[in-house]
């Protein structure tokens, strides 16, 4: 008799629990590097997410959105990210995990998302394999091969026959080098030299001299955005490589809006392929950049902020579709194949891989109204991640 009563009580409680979500806020746990060497990643993604909530309201599908940000500085230590994500799931009881500035953190949290059945929105980490690590991952940023393949085909089509590749000696560098070589040689180009420079390399003089003596048509560069890129580009100009007719090409994260000013005029003439530029011409981007400058007058909108903005948008649209239900299977089902016009242009979520499909633009770094900008002059439409084919 007593047992029966308890059972009824339990059932009642369970039903009440199941109904309760309709009124409760949706808790989103953001795992981002907010301090340390990659603090600018976290800051930009946070800007994007908050900007979406500020401009589009914070209640979707009848539920208010609540953000909890955890700093997984340095962002490259998977165990730190995993511990914080665990705290978010167990202590803060979040419904959705999001953020992830760098690949190691996304990799480490993926099994947790599977186990805890939480949707995981990757807003930056760009290694191709990230979305394969859990069936609950959706990515709204980009993948590295998605950006390094188009610059290779563009180069092959534009009279660049011999390329020297210089990449930083770490995972993303190897990926970029591999994809570039694959696409470029398949299109009939030759690689005349390849160097893997140490990640922390204070002086590029020897590499630059080697390039100058090899006389390629172009140099494909992939370095972590920051001091190394600045050192390389300044050296490139100073040593007269651009004057010698060597074209510098790279993926667009190198002359990202955050470091363009620090690169200064040495970035002029650089040709890159990327999915977002502040100078992208569309009404959506105009609205986005205007709102961004109003909210954060000291910073410049860049691709990471857009990754965060679109990630938040995806969450909002899914909540509207599911009426606020955050069950991981339903959430991912609703996200598959979703299409929208982002500040970067038209994007969609690949139903098969849950990865983003988007236009990749070929841009040249120029001075527009006294400000350095990556001006788009060509694009490949609806480009899927070639790393998963």
């Amino acid at each position: 008799m007593k047992l029966k009563k308890q059972l009824i009580a339990l059932t009642l409680m369970a039903t009440a629990g199941a109904c309760a979500w309709a009124a409760d806020p949706v808790k989103i746990g953001l795992v981002l590097p907010m301090s340390g060497p990659f603090a600018s990643y976290g800051k930009q993604i946070e800007h994007g997410v908050k900007l979406y909530l500020a401009t589009q309201g914070d209640t979707f599908g009848g539920r208010k959105v609540e953000l909890i940000i955890k700093d997984d500085s340095p962002g490259t230590a998977g165990d730190v990210s995993k511990r914080l994500a665990q705290e978010l799931v167990i202590k803060d009881k979040v419904d959705i995990l999001a953020g992830f500035g760098l690949t190691p953190s996304a990799f480490a949290v993926a099994p947790l998302a599977t186990e805890a059945k939480k949707p995981m929105i990757v807003m930056n980490a760009a290694t191709s394999a990230v979305t394969t690590k859990s069936n609950y991952i959706v990515r709204t940023s980009m993948t590295l091969p998605q950006n390094s393949a188009p610059i290779a085909s563009w180069a092959a089509k534009n009279k660049i026959k011999k390329v020297f590749t210089l990449v930083a000696d770490y995972g993303p560098g190897h990926d970029a080098e591999g994809q570039f070589k694959k696409t470029f040689t398949a299109a009939g180009g030759t690689i005349v030299g390849e160097v893997r420079a140490p990640v922390k390399n204070p002086d590029f003089a020897p590499f630059l001299q080697k390039i100058k003596d090899t006389k390629p048509d172009a140099v494909f560069l992939f370095l972590p955005p920051g001091g190394e890129t600045i050192a390389f580009m300044k050296g490139f100009k100073e040593r007269g490589l651009s004057a010698a007719g060597i074209q510098l090409i790279s993926t667009g994260d190198l002359p990202d809006e955050d470091i363009l000013e620090a690169l200064g005029d040495s970035a002029l003439g650089l040709i890159t392929s990327f999915h977002y530029s502040e100078a992208h011409k569309s009404p959506e981007n105009k609205a986005y950049t205007d709102a961004y400058y109003k909210a954060y007058p000291k910073d410049r909108p860049n691709f990471m902020s857009v990754g965060g903005y679109d990630g938040m948008r995806l969450i909002a649209e899914v909540l509207k579709k599911t009426n606020g239900n955050t069950d991981a299977d339903k959430f991912i089902e609703a996200a598959r194949g979703m299409k929208w016009t982002s500040p970067r242009g038209p994007v969609s979520i690949d139903p098969a891989t849950r990865d983003i499909v988007q236009n990749i633009y070929i841009r040249k770094t120029e001075k527009v109204g006294g400000k350095l900008q990556n001006v788009e002059f060509d694009h490949i439409a609806d480009f899927k991640d070639p790393g998963k084919q």
């Binding site: 301090s35 990659f38 100073e238 470091i259 000013e261 910073d299």
Partner: protein, 286 residues
């Protein structure tokens, strides 16, 4: 030839960014891992002066050195002096803590992004000499400054009365006090000198190394290599060590890029095996 020139220039860059540490660690025997923080301070002051106040680069350099020296004195009076007698482990823990404080402070005031620094026209570019030698103007400038500083410092330590007092104060503070040397004052001045040089090195390095809050920690390995290989207690050792390391590193990266990154460490290991106390290190003074 260009490789040798670049190597020498890189060596002197190493020397410039580590010379402050040669003073604090090498001469004062204080394991000052916060050296990078002073260098970073110098970098930020330089960028501020150039950007915000429009001070010309060359005029900014002495101001930078002065500013870092003043901060050095302030910290020496309030914090560092308490740890002169402490064990090296305590000094390491203290100064590495200071680095983190400095990094967060820089982050708070300047943000995480890279700081722009535009050199004046006259210091950028490259000119060609007969014989296929390409000389970067800024690199030449670094070489000149590095050599001038090295000789001035060496002379100060070995040839002046202040240098003698300093050596006496470090080797045996009690006896030095007994001889009427104001050990406290000597230490403050030397520490100010070390921090000033760190700041100057930082400011000179910004163009080649970039500047963000991670600067304080990023190049610490290079500072330490130079001082370790050069041996403590003299500037000449640091200079020679920087030159050897610079030339080997650049040549290694040019001729065998696949393993180039390891050359600098291989050279360090080899040199330390043959001269464990450093190139010109004094064999245990105490």
């Amino acid at each position: 030839m260009t490789v040798v020139f670049d190597g020498v220039a890189y060596g002197l860059l190493l020397f410039l960014i580590s010379v402050g540490l040669s003073v604090t660690l090498g001469l004062m025997n204080f394991v000052n891992l916060a050296h990078g923080a002073f260098a970073m301070l110098g970098g930020y002051v330089c960028v501020l002066l150039l950007d915000r106040f429009g001070v010309p680069f060359l005029a900014a350099l002495p101001l930078v050195a002065l500013a870092s020296a003043l901060v050095g004195v302030l910290l020496e009076r309030t914090l560092y002096r308490r740890l002169y007698g402490a064990s090296h482990l305590d000094q390491v823990l203290f100064s590495i803590g200071l680095v983190f404080v400095a990094m967060s402070t820089a982050h708070f005031f300047f943000g995480a992004q890279q700081q722009p620094l535009q050199l004046p026209e006259m210091l950028s570019g490259q000119f060609h000499l007969p014989g296929g030698l390409d000389v970067g103007v800024y690199r030449l400038f670094l070489i000149v400054i590095g050599l001038v500083l090295a000789f001035a410092l060496q002379w100060m330590i070995a040839g002046t009365q202040f240098g003698a007092k300093l050596r006496a104060s470090v080797d045996n503070p009690r006896a030095a006090r007994g001889l009427g040397i104001d050990v406290d004052r000597v230490f403050v001045l030397t520490f100010a000198l070390g921090s000033g040089l760190a700041g100057l090195g930082g400011a000179l390095g910004v163009d080649m190394l970039g500047l963000d809050p991670g600067f304080a920690l990023k190049y610490i390995v290079y500072f330490l290599i130079v001082v370790a290989v050069g041996g403590s207690g003299n500037i000449k050792g640091s200079l020679v060590a920087s030159l050897i390391l610079g030339v080997c590193d650049v040549a290694g990266k040019y001729y065998i890029p696949q393993v180039g990154a390891f050359v600098i460490y291989a050279v360090m290991v080899a040199m330390l095996i043959f001269r464990p106390q450093g190139l010109f290190g004094r064999t245990a003074a105490k």
